[in-house]
């Protein structure tokens, strides 16, 4: 099991991957990707129990579903660096004939991906279905999902949130990336959602906050706590407080880098702030 230093190094390398991927094709979504680097690294390196290799059914292992598919750069980087496919393949992100589509898909057969996402608001329903399949299969592994906070404006989420508690889907940990930004601005300016804690609790979920969502130790501690709260009759919601664009100073605390790639000069600054640790792809 990697130690904190190793996880931190990996996170830095993942941030470099994200910047280089979106820069190369001058498109993609760096902001949310950077904000979730610690979460993905924690999940795939420490928290999830996974089997060697990849099969779609995932029986006998933990599963993860990304609902806000636009943060594919962080997902691809962490999957590659966790051994799902060669890291060199990150070079093909968003290019023609690539398995690394702009938004994640099963269609091209990329190992690690179990559902297409991109059109927002659909991932929680899928995660619930997979969690209920685990129960039918007497498989006591967990299902994790990640959602943007702005994404919760999609109504299907609330159908899913209502259902998961009503049906006691307690093998599910749904994490909300609470960066308070969306394409058109702050979530509070675009469509204020009030207290997400109060909303999830009112819908019957167990809720816990990870205040330092970009501190790998805090993320690990919080997610371990979330894990300990499964199996108690309620689905678990983690409110992961993150900073969009984390780790690259000019990208932080703004929605401006939601879906915009850095130019050559900006890339150089970003990479300078995140020096190579494990080797670039």
């Amino acid at each position: 099991m990697p130690n904190i230093k190793e996880l931190t190094d990996l996170t830095t390398q993942v941030r470099r991957d994200i910047l280089r991927m979106v820069h190369k094709v001058n498109s993609g979504h760096p902001g949310g990707s950077l904000g979730c680097a610690e979460f993905f690294v924690s999940l795939y390196q420490k928290l999830m129990e996974t089997k060697d290799g990849f099969d779609m059914d995932g029986i006998g292992e933990d599963l993860f579903f990304l609902s806000n598919g636009h943060i594919s750069p962080v997902y691809y980087s962490v999957l590659a660096r966790s051994g799902y496919f060669p890291v060199e393949e990150l070079n093909t992100f968003r290019l023609i004939d690539s398995r690394l589509q702009g938004h994640p898909t099963t269609h091209e057969g990329l190992p690690g991906i179990r559902i297409a996402s991109g059109s927002l608001g659909q991932g929680m329903s899928v995660a619930i279905g997979a969690a209920q399949a685990k129960k039918l299969n007497n498989d006591d592994h967990l299902v994790y999902s990640l959602h943007g906070d702005g994404e919760l404006q999609e109504g299907q989420n609330w159908e899913a949130i209502m259902y998961a508690s009503a049906k006691k889907v307690d093998n599910l940990i749904s994490t909300i990336d609470l960066n308070q930004q969306q394409i058109d601005g702050c979530t509070d300016d675009v469509l204020p959602m009030g207290s997400l804690r109060a909303k999830f609790e009112a819908f019957g979920w167990t809720v816990l906050d990870i205040e330092k969502g970009n501190d790998i130790e805090a993320v690990l501690e919080g997610m371990k706590k979330a894990k300990s709260l499964t199996g108690q009759g309620k689905p678990v919601c983690v409110l992961l407080h993150t900073v969009m664009g984390n780790g690259v100073d000019f990208m932080m605390h703004t929605h401006a880098w939601h879906g915009k790639a850095p130019n050559d000069e900006q890339l150089a600054i970003g990479l300078e702030q995140n020096t190579e640790t494990l080797g670039d792809y």
């Binding site: 029986i59 059109s119 991932g123 329903s125 995660a127 209920q132 399949a133 039918l136 159908e159």
Partner: protein, 321 residues
């Protein structure tokens, strides 16, 4: 010497949705991976028998069809074969993006089972009478689209699609219609069934219109017109070969369906003929319109979806040969 026409009779009428319910119940007994989901319409979809026998394999979703489609996609991850049940309107248009991304593009083995399709839903009116669903579903890459014609065929189709690995749209309806196909039929996805042999005109029909096509062929026979009736239960993939072979003999064709002529079976047939064998064609279908309240028979008459309408279309198309 006149051709002796094969005739079809029936002793019982039943709704095709009950065929779905019976097929699902049988799957419950024979295939442990089959699970069922419903959005608050258990009785309408005739799912009670499956639920009574397999309560642990049934998921009541509530009135939340988008969530139902996502959950169904998720259940396939773990090897389940989910059958979703709700009205055709709520099975397609209401959840199109969910089906497109989470089921079709993701290649999930979900069976979308849709009752109360078309005008024959009746008195509830146009809000519930979808006439666009075949078009919506056939345009999705990889989606199989099936519209069986009677109770027996719907039951057989329900059982058959469990053995097919991939997304399927199964469309059926509410009214009682004659049962004229064999109870022991083997349902082959994508294989047209020739019901009568004829030389003057081809009539290809799907769903409730198949019986109407047979009725029309009887009347036409008495008028000296020999009609070849083909049951196209699978709209996608379409049995191109059967259609081309038949029109090669008859030289003209009428398509009949309880659906808008835009996007339906008729358009699929026209595409095949335009590419391979340009042939005069007439469409028995709704004419780019919504439905309205009324009894099924009144509606099928008003919107021209019955034996009379098919006979008129035949006479028209034969003049164009």
């Amino acid at each position: 010497m006149g051709i002796i026409m094969k005739t079809y009779t029936y002793t019982e009428k039943k709704d095709t949705r009950s065929g779905f319910g019976a097929g699902l119940a049988e799957l419950g007994r024979t295939n442990p991976n089959v699970v069922a989901l419903c959005a608050d319409l258990i009785g309408s979809l005739k799912m009670n028998e499956f639920i009574d026998e397999n309560p642990e394999r049934f998921f009541q979703i509530g009135i939340a069809e988008a969530n139902m489609m996502g959950i169904a996609a998720g259940l396939t991850i773990g090897g389940k074969i989910p059958f979703t049940g709700t009205f055709a309107n709520f099975s397609t248009g209401r959840v199109y993006d969910q089906i497109r991304q989470s089921i079709a593009y993701s290649g999930k083995n979900v069976k979308i089972c849709a009752s109360h399709a078309g005008l024959t839903l009746g008195e509830d009116g146009a809000t519930h009478q979808i006439l666009e669903d075949i078009g919506l579903m056939k345009m999705l890459p990889g989606m199989v689209v099936i519209n069986p014609c009677d109770y027996n065929q719907t039951k057989a189709a329900t059982i058959a699609i469990a053995d097919y690995d991939g997304p399927v749209y199964l469309r059926f309806g509410r009214p009682s219609v004659p049962i004229f196909t064999p109870a022991d039929q083997k349902f082959e996805i994508g294989k047209a069934i020739q019901l009568t042999e004829g030389t003057d005109v081809t009539i290809v029909a799907t769903g409730h219109l198949v019986w109407e096509a047979l009725e029309a062929s009887k009347a036409l026979h008495e008028a000296g017109i020999s009609a070849e009736v083909i049951n196209i239960h699978t709209i996608k993939p379409l049995d191109d070969k059967a259609i081309i072979e038949s029109v090669s003999k008859t030289g003209c064709i009428v398509t009949a369906e309880e659906h808008n002529y835009l996007g339906g079976l008729g358009e699929s047939v026209a595409r095949v003929l335009a590419q391979h064998k340009p042939t005069p064609q007439e469409f028995v279908a709704t004419n780019d319109t919504f439905g309205e309240s009324g009894t099924p028979a009144q509606l099928m008459d008003k919107y021209g979806l019955n034996s009379d309408a098919i006979q008129k279309a035949v006479k028209k198309v034969m003049k164009r040969k």
